[in-house]
């Protein structure tokens, strides 16, 4: 069957059988379906929403938050075909080698495999997110018509590069549902159901296999899917919610024998105005403050700590963006004039810029999603997020900023002011990437992770998870390119399950 099927038209009590169930039609689910398209597998994709925003479907996402101020759970994601890519920013960058490493100074860090395991999938992922050629840290060469990166002195911070998703012409970024909807419809052995909410994953009595999925629509229809293999691709909050709520056979929830489902929730804090960066000669290439549009390639320069600096200083990853130009106060002017004076540098044309950032949070088991006492319109328990952000995360980021300042001074090209210090300072300028991660973390050892290195739920033969919920350590790169690469890798494992 092909085309979209409105689940509200499926008679209650219907039982459908298939080889592969993909639960969720966001970036992960769609990428997986496209990757499996050439195989002979029969597939069903179940998407909770329709083709556009619907407030009743969206309300299924609402929940509770406590602890460190964070976003409303229904405001930071979208529940219709394409998922949160319907309002993502398109910032893309592959994770670095160090992001995969277990670091003794970062508890709970490390993936069960090195970066080279997913590296072969970046090329295809890059094309799915429509970021143009895979350039990243060779950006300077591509953007040289717009100027050169700041000639920082040797040290622990370098000019790193992001690329941007771009759908067509000036339409950016790629909204997966809109962009790949027709491709999905054309996959001959795929049935895509819209308005189809999975409300429970039912295990066989021995708790070792998924037997069936319960599906409900907001119009009151209920039916069943019996897949040979299931992939959860509902986003990092909802993946955890479904596993926790499916507790009829495994009382603590599916895959939750080690009490890890929902723990280690993460996002990237993106506080504003973290520092003031002064360039003595006022010369700053435009690709620091704005996206450089070079044909199919959109580039933006940022500052990142090198892997070596991260190891030496025991700090997580971060990126610093250069934002708008700002005026210095009297003390700022005095500092710039005095320092430039002593260094023998002309600061006549100095300009100052506010910086923003994206920070990697250190994994924390108590930053956690649990089920609340409330239920949604379909009877599924709602989520409750307890957010925590240790002050050390901000202190680590300040170390990277200081190093950037040192390199500017040592190169005699500029200096920096660190604008935030106390916890209140940071809270006052806090924003979030909406990059949900970590809640079904990956580890070879079932005591340390919910899924194994193949993204299969430990102890369940035919249940897999796609998306950034499996990221055990997060890096500072935005997740989507990486989770798409991981979904493509997962497709190869899925294929192997059907010899």
């Amino acid at each position: 069957m092909s085309g979209f099927i409105d689940a509200r038209a499926v008679p209650s009590g219907t039982v459908i059988e298939t080889d592969v169930a993909i639960v969720g039609g966001g970036a992960a689910g769609i990428s997986l379906a496209l990757a499996l398209a050439p195989t002979p597998l029969r597939m069903v994709m179940l998407e909770s929403g329709g083709l556009g925003f619907d407030s009743k479907a969206q309300a299924l996402y609402s929940g509770e938050e406590s602890g460190y101020p964070y976003l409303k759970l229904d405001a930071s994601r979208l529940r219709y075909l394409g998922g949160s890519t319907n309002h993502w920013g398109g910032w893309s960058r592959p994770l670095s080698e160090i992001d995969f490493e277990a670091r003794d100074w970062m508890p709970h860090s490390g993936w069960p495999f090195p970066r080279r395991e997913i590296a072969p999938y970046f090329k295809r992922a890059q094309s799915l997110v429509e970021c143009g050629p895979f350039v990243y840290d060779h950006g300077a060469r591509w953007a040289r018509s717009q100027g050169a990166p700041l000639p920082l002195a040797e040290g622990g911070v370098y000019t790193s590069w992001f690329q941007f998703s771009r759908m067509r012409g000036s339409v950016l970024p790629t909204h997966f549902g809109q962009r790949y909807g027709d491709d999905i419809k054309r996959i001959p052995r795929l049935s895509s159901f819209l308005h189809a909410n999975v409300t429970a994953i039912r295990l066989a009595p021995d708790a070792g296999r998924v037997e069936r999925l319960d599906i409900a629509t907001l119009s009151g229809k209920r039916f069943t899917l019996k897949p040979k293999l299931t992939v959860l691709a509902c986003g990092a909050m909802e993946n955890a919610r479904l596993l926790l709520a499916s507790n009829d056979v495994a009382s603590q929830g599916i895959g939750n024998g080690a009490d890890l489902v929902g723990r280690f929730f993460a996002d990237h804090p993106i506080p504003r105005d973290t520092a003031t960066l002064v360039v003595f000669d006022g010369q700053l290439a435009p690709f620091y403050t704005n996206n450089a549009i070079l044909g199919s390639l959109i580039l933006r320069a940022t500052f990142s700590p090198t892997e070596d600096f991260q190891r030496r200083r025991k700090i997580p990853a971060s990126l610093t963006t250069v934002e708008n130009e700002v005026k210095l106060d009297e003390l700022g002017q005095a500092a710039v004039v005095t320092v430039a004076n002593v260094l023998g540098v002309d600061a006549t044309g100095a300009r100052a810029f506010s910086t923003g950032c994206g920070m990697e949070l250190v994994p924390d088991p108590d930053r956690r999603l649990t089920l609340s006492g409330e239920h949604d319109a379909l009877g599924l328990p709602r989520l409750k997020l307890h957010m925590r952000v240790a002050q050390s995360n901000f202190d680590h980021y300040r170390t990277a900023l200081k190093e950037l300042g040192r390199q500017l001074l040592a190169a005699r090209i500029g200096m920096i002011r660190l604008n935030r210090k106390s916890r209140q300072d940071w809270i006052g300028v806090m924003d979030w990437g909406n990059h949900h991660m970590g809640t079904t973390r990956m580890a070879a050892d079932p005591k340390q992770g919910v899924v194994d290195g193949d993204c299969k739920v430990h102890g369940i033969a035919n249940l897999f998870v796609a998306g950034s919920s499996v990221f055990p350590t997060y890096g500072a790169s935005n997740p989507t390119l990486n989770l798409v690469a991981l979904a493509l890798r997962l497709a190869t494992h899925v294929r192997k399950q059907f010899p």
């Binding site: 005026k327 003390l331 002017q333 005095a334 004039v337 002593v342 100095a350």
Partner: protein, 122 residues
């Protein structure tokens, strides 16, 4: 109280000084000042080599809570030994530990110390 550092015109190596300090684009900073004030006291010679001792004094007032005047004078004396302040700044900015945070501004220690002396002298 330690004796004042030995100062000479070379100390600051401010050859490029005249050009160095001026107005930010858009007239943010009104320099060179027409009515330039001069430092007095034991560190005056060093401070007066700065194009704008008042600016340094302002930075110095912000740095005072972290750097004591006595230790600033003693440290500069020990380190200068006929060398240029710019050389000290270069030593300082070779390592993160050589920088101090003055109300958020990351400044080489030697410069911050000079600013503290300026705050005292102006």
């Amino acid at each position: 109280m330690s004796p004042p550092p030995k100062l000479s015109r070379r100390t600051l190596t401010l050859g490029a000084m005249a050009a160095a300090v001026a107005a930010f684009a858009g007239g943010l900073y009104e320099l060179p000042k027409l009515l330039r004030r001069h430092a007095h006291g034991e560190h005056a010679a060093l401070i007066n080599l700065l194009a704008d001792p008042d600016a340094a004094a302002m930075v110095g007032r912000a740095a005072k809570s972290d750097i004591a005047e006595e230790s600033a004078a003693a440290d500069l004396k020990t380190r200068l030994k006929g060398r240029a302040l710019a050389d000290l700044a270069r030593e300082d900015d070779a390592d993160l530990d050589g920088l101090v945070e003055v109300e958020g501004w990351m400044v080489p220690l030697a410069i911050a110390e000079l600013c503290v002396l300026a705050a005292q002298a102006m």
